[in-house]
């Protein structure tokens, strides 16, 4: 039986519907019978304007457990997403998503998505998760920018 987790998630859903940042989307995924699975959300994060990430909306899956919000959701970009702090599996490595560092139960889905949007253009070389992006980021900025812009094109804004 679901508990605090589903109550909180349905609250998050309500709050998101009432107010969410421009350009983002976040919605529980649809089950085969048409109901929504509160524990898996599909989201989209727009790259910030005037950064090399702009003009892309990056799809992200958020997976919650019964222990949410005591534990953070797992956030994943598509496999092999190009970013220094994203594992090859797509999992985002970010302090607010880390139970042992900065995660707090009060952090909302909105905060998480805004945090990840911020991470896009501000990678943290101290917690590298993928070799190529971190290598390029530190040693070959031009190539890094090229790769990021290329990636933005493959996740265009809707319509």
């Amino acid at each position: 039986m679901a508990g605090i987790s589903s109550a909180r998630l349905s609250e998050e859903r309500k709050n998101w519907r009432k107010d969410h940042p421009y350009g983002f989307y976040a919605r529980p995924t649809t089950n085969t019978d048409g109901s929504l699975n509160l524990f898996v959300w599909s989201c989209g994060i727009p790259g910030k304007k005037d950064t090399i990430w702009e003009n892309g909306v990056y799809p992200l899956t958020m997976e919650f457990t019964e222990d949410y919000p005591s534990k953070p959701p797992k956030c994943r970009f598509p496999k092999d997403f190009f970013h220094p702090n994203v594992y090859p599996s797509g999992t985002v490595c970010l302090s607010i998503l880390n139970e042992e560092s900065d995660w707090k139960p009060s952090i909302t889905i909105k905060t998480v998505l805004l945090g990840i949007q911020d991470l896009l253009d501000n990678p943290n070389p101290k917690s590298p998760a993928q070799q190529l992006p971190i290598h390029l980021f530190l040693q070959d900025k031009d190539e890094y920018v090229k790769k990021v812009r290329q990636q933005a094109k493959s996740y265009p804004l809707a319509e």
Partner: protein, 655 residues
């Protein structure tokens, strides 16, 4: 009854003893605490007992679950426990069920048969379920648990005490992927890593999924640094060489050499501590002896005492040996699931975590320690269970004897505090913000095979319960979302499709517990759905009565005739008697407002049967929007103030 209970009668009085004999008690769980509790109940004179347990008897239970014997291993706990305690008192009337308390078999109706519930469970999820059913049924619950030397007994009663979920429950620790994968600092990190490695290597598709690959990189990846395009790529060519030499060497080299080289290159991680150093198998073992050592390793596993720490070399030997065996086994069985009780699986995780510990300068652990850490084992102690079960009985007798005000929560400590091991505390008040117990429970009876979701939402939720934009949740799924403003076309189309479905074919079956919220109102209620055919048969009869008794009603609204049929019933939960009256009064006011504006409610009000709509919901912050109805008063209101109805209708259209 014979004299055997004379001491009970003397201690608690004839009246209390009579209450004991007449009470109906439900015991959930027939394990460590359950066995003790059942024995205590029967010896204290309890007669009507139901016991539910889904488990079967395991040999490891026998040291403390004393109702079971060697020849019972493999049989259902509940049934064997029943037979065993019947020997203490053959006159006891015990029903034993081998089943999961979380299933529909044990629904709210089942719970309502009892006076008291004693839970002797071993997991949080079942406890939460029982907690909610008891709150919902208004039943007192004696909740108990032990962990090693520690134990606790407490009482939960709706409206009087904290419930099991009034405060967030501690959750078992989980480690972030970054720590496990790149930067371990404690043995448990290496053990978790080793379990993930097991899943990655031997899990097959059954236990695979790329989630687990976070802990370990792609087995064929030998890029240490740089990239192809930049031309500065550095590869570990040795990995291919090792792969040629066989599976176990390949795995060993990959996880303890290639991957470690990659990690060691991440300079930022090693500013404050020593970087890990990759291992070379050839330096550890003589190349030509490997095949023989693996045989030795096999013997070692059997000979060594679990508590002895293996040497580093032993770990390496065990690792190689187990890797090979598990690979074969995995291929045969199409994927393995890690099991702490499987010798080879445990040895693999133990050796792999120890080798990794060595690389990161973390202390190694014995097989025994690894087993308990990897398997999350908490030792169970018979004495603790016995003490706690004694307290369970004491509290049960207080409740049955009508001395609820004397009940306590009691903690059993490991070390004495003020020379006491048992620390009684008074029961805490319910947390007003609790999302479980400070919520209203209502029951809705209707024909789930006929009514559509749309009718349920529009007629019952929106009209009768005055929920404006309902949001319905069942379990982990959001099954219906009201409110149009911000939903897109697709979402609304999807909702239309759902509205057309029959309730019983879309999650709203008999026994469903649906949480009803409103998009804008601060409203929340839990509704139990009960399927019934009774209204279909009753409709005719009631219509006749209606015509006879209520002439006014007939005149009132001719065109509504068809809809006047009663096709559902809403029943509030039993609230605690002490505040029930007050609640009803409070709620009635709001209800009159809530109901008057709703012309369809005639159908309910006109029904001569007073129970047609009796919603007794507790008065909480959300009562403004709740429907608590006293049918008679409402009926009278309509009789007297016919003229006002049209005004009320107008009001509705205004709003």
């Amino acid at each position: 009854m014979t004299d055997r209970f004379s001491a009970m009668k003397l201690t608690y009085g004839e009246e209390c003893f009579k209450a004991i004999q007449e009470s109906k008690v439900l015991v959930i769980g027939a394990g460590g605490i359950g066995c003790e509790v059942l024995k205590n109940l029967v010896l204290a004179g309890f007669i009507n007992i139901d016991v539910v347990d889904l488990d079967i008897i395991d040999i490891s239970n026998l040291n403390r679950q004393f109702l079971f014997r060697m020849n019972h291993v493999g049989q259902p706990k509940a049934l064997v426990a029943k037979d065993a305690v019947l020997q203490y008192n053959p006159l006891a009337n015990i029903n034993a069920y081998h089943g999961d308390v979380k299933t529909q078999q044990f629904d709210l109706e089942y719970f309502k048969k009892f006076n008291l519930v004693l839970s002797a469970l071993d997991n949080i999820s079942a406890r939460r379920h029982v907690n909610r059913l008891c709150l919902s049924a208004g039943l007192p619950l004696v909740e108990s648990g032990t962990a090693g030397y520690l134990g606790q007994v407490t009482i939960i009663k709706k409206g009087e005490t904290e419930c099991y979920e009034c405060h967030p429950l501690p959750v078992p620790k989980q480690f972030p992927v970054c720590t496990i994968r790149s930067n371990p600092s404690a043995p448990i990190h290496c053990i978790v890593w080793a379990k993930m490695l097991f899943g990655k290597l031997f899990g097959g598709q059954k236990n695979g999924g790329d989630d687990d690959t976070n802990g370990i990189t792609d087995m064929d990846n030998n890029i240490i640094s740089g990239s192809e395009e930049n031309g500065d790529i550095v590869r570990d060519e040795q990995l291919l060489v090792e792969k040629e030499k066989g599976y176990k060497r390949w795995v060993f080299h990959k996880v303890f050499n290639t991957d470690i080289q990659i990690l060691a290159k991440m300079a930022d991680l090693w500013k404050e501590k020593q970087p890990p150093s990759p291992l070379s198998l050839d330096n550890i073992l003589d190349q030509k002896e490997i095949d023989e050592t693996s045989k030795e390793g096999d013997q070692l596993i059997n000979q060594l005492k679990d508590q002895k720490l293996w040497s580093f070399k032993e770990n390496v030997e065990v690792f190689l040996d187990c890797a090979e065996k598990l690979k074969d086994q995995s291929e045969k069985e199409n994927g393995l699931v890690w099991d702490k009780d499987d010798e080879i699986s445990l040895s693999f995780v133990c050796s792999a975590s120890n080798i990794r510990s060595q690389i990161f300068n973390i202390p190694m652990k014995s097989r025994f320690d690894v087993k308990s850490m990897a398997g999350n084992i908490i030792p169970a102690i018979g004495t603790t269970n016995a003490i706690i079960s004694g307290l369970v009985l004491t509290e049960a007798i207080k409740i049955i004897g009508g001395r609820f005000n004397e009940c306590h929560s009691t903690y059993l400590m490991k070390e004495p505090s003020s020379r006491r091991l048992l620390i009684p505390t008074s029961l805490e008040e319910p947390n007003p913000k609790c999302f479980v117990c400070n919520r209203n429970f209502i029951t809705c009876k209707l024909n789930t095979d006929k009514v559509t979701v749309g009718k349920f939402v529009n007629e019952i939720l929106k009209k009768s319960l005055a929920v404006n934009e309902p949001i319905l949740t069942v379990g982990n799924d959001l099954i219906y979302e009201g409110g149009d403003q911000d939903l897109d076309k697709e979402e609304i189309a999807q909702r239309k499709k759902i509205e057309e479905k029959i309730m019983g074919q879309y999650r709203l079956v008999n026994g469903s517990q649906v949480i009803i919220e409103d998009y804008n109102q601060d409203f929340k209620v839990t509704m139990n759905i009960v399927h019934t055919n009774e209204f279909d048969e009753d409709i005719k009869k009631k219509k006749e009565e209606e015509n006879k008794d209520q002439n006014r009603a007939k005149q009132q609204d001719e065109k509504k005739k068809e809809e006047d049929e009663k096709w559902f019933e809403i029943i509030g939960s039993t609230t605690t008697p002490s505040n029930e009256n007050k609640k009803e009064c409070d709620a009635t006011n709001t209800n009159e407002n809530g109901m008057v504006d709703d012309d369809d409610d005639f159908e309910i009000l006109e029904t001569p049967v007073p129970e047609s709509l009796v919603c007794k919901t507790s008065s909480t912050a959300s009562t403004n929007t709740t429907t608590t109805t006293n049918t008679t008063s409402l009926k009278r209101k309509y009789d007297e103030e016919d003229s006002e109805i049209s005004d009320a209708k107008k009001q509705k259209s205004d709003s």
